[in-house]
C-alpha cells in the first residue's frame, strides 16, 4: 500500500532504514512514522524485522543507511541513553529488571534521588514516592519494597512499564508487553495506554495478539522480510486483514473434530504443593483430549504443572497415569511414564541455548540413543532430522545453536524433544507465547496430530482466543483452586473470565 498517510505531522519518523547483522539483512528500506498521541501497532512474523526497527528507533542499533527525524529534524541516536534523554523509551521483550533489588530500587536505577550533596546518599522517601506514583499509573498496588525476584512475570512486566512511564517518555516503544500478562492485566495495560494517549504520549506497540491490536491501535504497520508490507487505518483493522499482511496469505483454519475420548490417562486427586489451596486440585485428562487450564497470572496453573512433573515437591494428593499410581517428585520418572512438560520459560527452562538443535532434542532421550553410555551419532542425527521435518523447524541444519533460533522455532525444538520421547500426557505451559502466527499454526496442528494419536494434552494458556479454539474442556483456576469447568458447549470468553476473576464462584459460595 503505497498511499501512506501523510507524515507531515510525524513526531518520530524513520525513512528508508536498512540494517544487516554481519551479512544477514534484517531491514531493507523500511519506513515508519508516529504522530503525537497515536498508538501504532507494528506487526509481522518473527524475523520480519520488527524488533530491529524498534531498537533503531530506541538508539540501541544504528542503521546502516536511512535517517531518523524527531519533530521534523534529522537526528542521530548515539545510544539508548541518548534516546531516553529525547523521550524515547523502549520496554524490552526480555525483562530488564534486577531480581535482587526491590521494585523501588529498580524504578530509580541509574537516576537515584540523592541528598547530602557530595555524599550522594539515596533519598529513600523520594524513591518510594516516585515508585508509588509510577505503580499507580499502571494500577498496581505492589509495595515498593518488594524484591523484584519474588514477582511473577506478569507483575514484573507491569513494573517495567511503570519504570518507563516514570522516565517521562514522549514515545513509548513496547515489544510484546502483554505476552506474559493475564487477560485482566492486559485490560489494565490497555487502559493505561489509552490514558497515556490522551496525555499526548505516542506508543509503538509490537504484539502477536491480534485481538488486542484491533482493540487499541489507531494504525497498524506490517513488516515482512525487512520491508513494509502494508498499513491499516483504524477502520480497516481486522484479524484477517492483519494476518494477510503478515504472512501474505490467509491462515488455514483449524477445526477440532468432535471426538470420543478414550480412558483416563492422567488422574489427579487433591494434588497439593506448598502454595496450594486447602483442598488441592482434582481433574483428569483422557486419551485424545485437550484440557486447558485458564486463569489469571498467579492463579497457580504453572505450579500444578511443575508439581506433576516433579520440579516442585508435592505435599499431598494422589496421581494416576494410565490407571497405575504415580508419585511425582522426579522429572526423569515422569518422563519414563510419558508425562512430559513443555515449560513456560522457554529460554531458561526449556532449552540449553548454547547447545545445538540436535543436542537439545536428544538431551532427555539419550538413554534410547546410547549403548554402554556412548551416544550413537547416527541415531541422534536421525532423531534430530525427524523432529526438524515433523515440526517444520526453520534452520540451516541440526547443528545450529538453539539460542540463534526465533521464538517459534525454539518452541518447536522443545516440542520435538518430547515427540521423540513418546508422550502419553503432554503438558504445555503457554506454548505459543512470543511465537509468530505461522509457528502458532504449526503448533496447533501438532496438538491436533498428537490427540488424534491418543495423546492427552493438558495446556496452560493466557491467550483466550487460543483456549477457546483448542480446548475440549476448560478448567478455570482462581487462587489455586478450580473455580469451574467448562465443556464444549459452555465455553465463552465471558464464562472463563467470570470464573477466573472469582465472581462466579464467589456468587456460588455466598
Amino acid at each position: 500500500m503505497s498511499d501512506r498517510a501523510e507524515p507531515a505531522v510525524a513526531l518520530l519518523e524513520a525513512r528508508e532504514i536498512s540494517k544487516s547483522f554481519l551479512g544477514a539483512k534484517a531491514l531493507s528500506g523500511a519506513g515508519f512514522f508516529i504522530r503525537q498521541g497515536e498508538i501504532v501497532a507494528l506487526i509481522g512474523e518473527n524475523g520480519a524485522g520488527k524488533s530491529t526497527l524498534m531498537k533503531i528507533l530506541a538508539g540501541i542499533h544504528q542503521p546502516d543507511s536511512g535517517s531518523l527525524y524527531l519533530d521534523g529534524n534529522p537526528i542521530q541516536l548515539k545510544g539508548p541513553d541518548d534516546a531516553i534523554r529525547r523521550g524515547i523509551v523502549l520496554i524490552h521483550q526480555e525483562l530488564n529488571l534486577a531480581d535482587n533489588l526491590s521494585i523501588a530500587e529498580n524504578m530509580v536505577l541509574g537516576r537515584e534521588p540523592t541528598w547530602g550533596g557530595p555524599l550522594g546518599l539515596v533519598d529513600r522517601s523520594a524513591t518510594v514516592r516516585i515508585t508509588r506514583e509510577a505503580l499507580a499509573k499502571v494500577g498496581s498496588l505492589l509495595l515498593p519494597e518488594t524484591p523484584v525476584g519474588q514477582l511473577p512475570p506478569g507483575q514484573k512486566q507491569l513494573v517495567e512499564i511503570a519504570r518507563a512511564l516514570s522516565l517521562d517518555a514522549r514515545i513509548l516503544i513496547m515489544d510484546e508487553p502483554t505476552s506474559s500478562l493475564s487477560q485482566q492485566e492486559t485490560d489494565r495495560l490497555i487502559e493505561v495506554m489509552e490514558e497515556l494517549k490522551s496525555r499526548k504520549v505516542s506508543i509503538v506497540y509490537i504484539s502477536h495478539r491480534l485481538s488486542e491490536v484491533s482493540r487499541v491501535a489507531d494504525r497498524v504497520v506490517a513488516l515482512r522480510d525487512g520491508k513494509n508490507s502494508g498499513e491499516l487505518a483504524r477502520g480497516e483493522i481486522t484479524h484477517d486483514a492483519m494476518v494477510r499482511l503478515m504472512v501474505g496469505r490467509d491462515l488455514a483454519g483449524i477445526e477440532r473434530p468432535q471426538t470420543q475420548f478414550g480412558k483416563e490417562l492422567l488422574k489427579v486427586e487433591a494434588l497439593r504443593h506448598a502454595g496450594s489451596a486447602a483442598g488441592g486440585v482434582s481433574f483428569a485428562v483422557r486419551e485424545g483430549e485437550v484440557v486447558c487450564m485458564a486463569g489469571l497470572v498467579g492463579a497457580g496453573r504453572t505450579e500444578i504443572a511443575e508439581t506433576l512433573y516433579g520440579i516442585r515437591p508435592m505435599v499431598g494428593g494422589r496421581v494416576e497415569i494410565s490407571g497405575a499410581g504415580f508419585l511425582p517428585g522426579k522429572p526423569s520418572e515422569a518422563i519414563r511414564r510419558g508425562l512430559l512438560l513443555v515449560p513456560e520459560d522457554r529460554r531458561n527452562h526449556g532449552l540449553i541455548l548454547a547447545e545445538s538443535i540436535r543436542g537439545n532434542i536428544s538431551l532427555p532421550n539419550l538413554r534410547m540413543l546410547s549403548r554402554f553410555g556412548i551416544v550413537s551419532p547416527r541415531l541422534e542425527n536421525r532423531m534430530a532430522d525427524d523432529g526438524i521435518s515433523e515440526l517444520g523447524i526453520r534452520t540451516t541444519g541440526p547443528a545450529k545453536p538453539a539460542g540463534q533460533l526465533s521464538g517459534g522455532n525454539q518452541q518447536k525444538v522443545v516440542l520435538a524433544r518430547w515427540l521423540a520421547a513418546k508422550p502419553s500426557v503432554l503438558i504445555l505451559d503457554e506454548p505459543t507465547r512470543g511465537v509468530d502466527v505461522g509457528a502458532k499454526g504449526d503448533i496447533y496442528r501438532m496438538i491436533e496430530q498428537l490427540t488424534a494419536r491418543g495423546v492427552g494434552v493438558l495446556m496452560i494458556s493466557s491467550d483466550l482466543e487460543e483456549v477457546l479454539r483448542l480446548s475440549d474442556r476448560i478448567l478455570v483456576l482462581h487462587e489455586h483452586a478450580i473455580a469451574g469447568e467448562l465443556a464444549r458447549g459452555e465455553m465463552s470468553e465471558e464464562a472463563v473470565m467470570r470464573l477466573a476473576t472469582g465472581s462466579a464462584s464467589g456468587r456460588a459460595a455466598s
Binding site: 540449553i352 543436542g359 556412548i374
Partner: protein, 352 residues
C-alpha cells in the same frame, strides 16, 4: 574447535621458543622431564575439568594430594600391603569428593567455600596424621594404655616411602617409560609412563564427556542447570559424580607424588597444585561459568605451564619471576580468548 587450534598455536609458540632458547632444552632428558610433569599435572587438571564443567571449582586438590601422599606412606610404614594402600587411598579420595558433592548439592553450599574448607582441613589432617604414633595407638587399643604413653608426637614430620621393594609396579608407573624408543631405536619415543597414564585417562574422559550420555548431561547442567532439570536430568547425581572423579584423580596424583619424590612434607606437599590444575583447564578453554571446554583443549592447556616453567629456566629468566610469567600468561590467554570469542560469535551469527 577454533579454540583448540588457538591453544595448539600457543603451545607451539612456547615450545619453539623453548627449543631455541638453549641446546640443553632440546635434549631428550628435558623432553622426558616435561612429558612426565605434563602427565602428573594432567591427571589433576583432568579431574578439576569435570568439576569446572558443572560450573563448580575444587580448591582442595593440592591438600588432597598431600593427604593422599601422607596417607599412602603411613599405611606402608605400618606394614600395609601396597595394593591395599593404593585402593584405600583412592577410595578415600572418592569419599572426599562424595562429601564435597553432597554438601554442594544437598545443602546448596557454594563449591568455592566447601572446597576452600577442604583445602585447610585435609592439610591439617595430613599434619595431624604424621604425628600419630600408630604403634602406641594399636597397642593401647589392644591391651590398654601403658602408663605415660603418648599417642601424638610433638610435631609433624615428613613421610618417606618405606618398603620400596614391594612397590616395583608403582615405581614402574611413576618412573618408567613406554619403551617404544628402545624397540624402534628412536630415543624420542620413550614416553614417560605418567604421560601414558594421563593419555589413557584423557581418552576415557573423552569417551565419557564427549561421546557419552553422561557428558551431554554434564555440559547441559553446566550451561543451564534449570533447563537440565526440566529435561529430566538428575543434576545432583551428575554433579556429585564429577566431584568424586576430581578428588579420586587428586588422590591418584598424591600417590604418584610420593612415589616420585619420595618423601612428603605435610606442610608443603602439593601446595599450589589446585591452582596449577585450574590454570591448565582455563588455558585449555574451560569456562569457569561451566558447560564449556573440551578434553583435547585441556590436554594442550596442561602443557602450557610446564613449558613456560622450562622456558623460564632455559631462557635465563630469574626463577623468582616464574610466578609473574605464569600470571601474565594466564591473563594474556584469557584476554585473547575473550577477543577471539567476540569475533567468532559475530561470524556464527552472520552465517545463521
Amino acid at each position: 574447535m577454533n579454540r583448540v587450534l588457538g591453544v595448539l598455536a600457543v603451545v607451539a609458540v612456547i615450545y619453539f621458543g623453548l627449543m631455541s632458547s638453549d641446546p640443553q632444552a632440546r635434549s631428550p632428558e628435558n623432553h622426558q622431564n616435561l612429558e612426565r610433569r605434563i602427565g602428573e599435572w594432567g591427571i589433576l587438571t583432568l579431574g578439576v575439568g569435570f568439576v569446572i564443567l558443572t560450573g563448580g571449582i575444587d580448591l582442595s586438590i593440592g591438600s588432597v594430594v598431600c593427604l593422599s601422599a601422607v596417607g599412602f606412606g603411613l599405611i606402608l610404614e605400618n606394614n600395609g600391603s601396597p595394593p591395599l594402600a593404593f585402593m584405600v587411598i583412592l577410595a578415600s579420595g572418592a569419599l572426599i569428593g562424595l562429601v564435597h558433592g553432597l554438601l554442594i548439592t544437598r545443602l546448596n553450599l557454594q563449591p568455592f567455600i566447601v572446597t576452600l574448607c577442604g583445602l585447610f582441613i585435609y592439610r591439617g589432617l595430613a599434619q595431624l596424621l604424621t604425628q600419630v604414633r600408630f604403634d602406641v595407638l594399636a597397642g593401647g587399643l589392644g591391651r590398654g594404655w601403658p602408663e605415660g604413653s603418648r599417642i601424638l608426637r610433638d610435631s609433624s614430620r615428613n613421610i618417606g616411602l618405606s618398603q620400596p621393594e614391594n612397590l616395583a609396579w608403582l615405581t614402574a608407573i611413576q618412573k618408567g617409560n613406554l619403551p617404544l624408543g628402545e624397540w624402534t631405536g628412536i630415543v624420542w619415543l620413550d614416553i614417560p609412563n605418567p604421560l601414558v597414564l594421563f593419555a589413557m585417562l584423557a581418552i576415557a574422559a573423552f569417551l565419557l564427556l564427549e561421546c557419552g550420555a553422561f557428558g551431554r548431561r554434564v555440559y547441559a547442567l553446566g550451561f543451564n542447570e534449570q533447563a537440565a532439570r526440566y529435561a529430566g536430568i538428575n543434576t545432583s547425581a551428575h554433579k556429585v559424580a564429577c566431584y568424586v572423579i576430581c578428588s579420586t584423580l587428586a588422590a591418584l596424583g598424591g600417590i604418584l607424588f610420593l612415589v616420585k619424590v619420595p618423601s612428603a612434607a605435610p606442610a608443603s606437599a602439593g601446595n599450589w597444585f589446585e591452582l596449577y590444575a585450574i590454570t591448565g583447564a582455563v588455558l585449555g578453554g574451560f569456562s569457569l561459568r561451566g558447560g564449556e571446554g573440551s578434553v583435547l583443549g585441556l590436554a594442550l592447556g596442561t602443557a602450557i605451564l610446564p613449558l613456560l616453567r622450562s622456558l623460564v629456566i632455559f631462557a635465563g629468566i630469574p626463577s623468582d619471576l616464574e610466578f609473574m610469567v605464569i600470571g601474565f600468561a594466564l591473563l594474556l590467554g584469557t584476554v585473547a580468548d575473550e577477543l577471539l570469542r567476540r569475533g567468532s560469535f559475530g561470524k556464527v551469527r552472520g552465517t545463521g
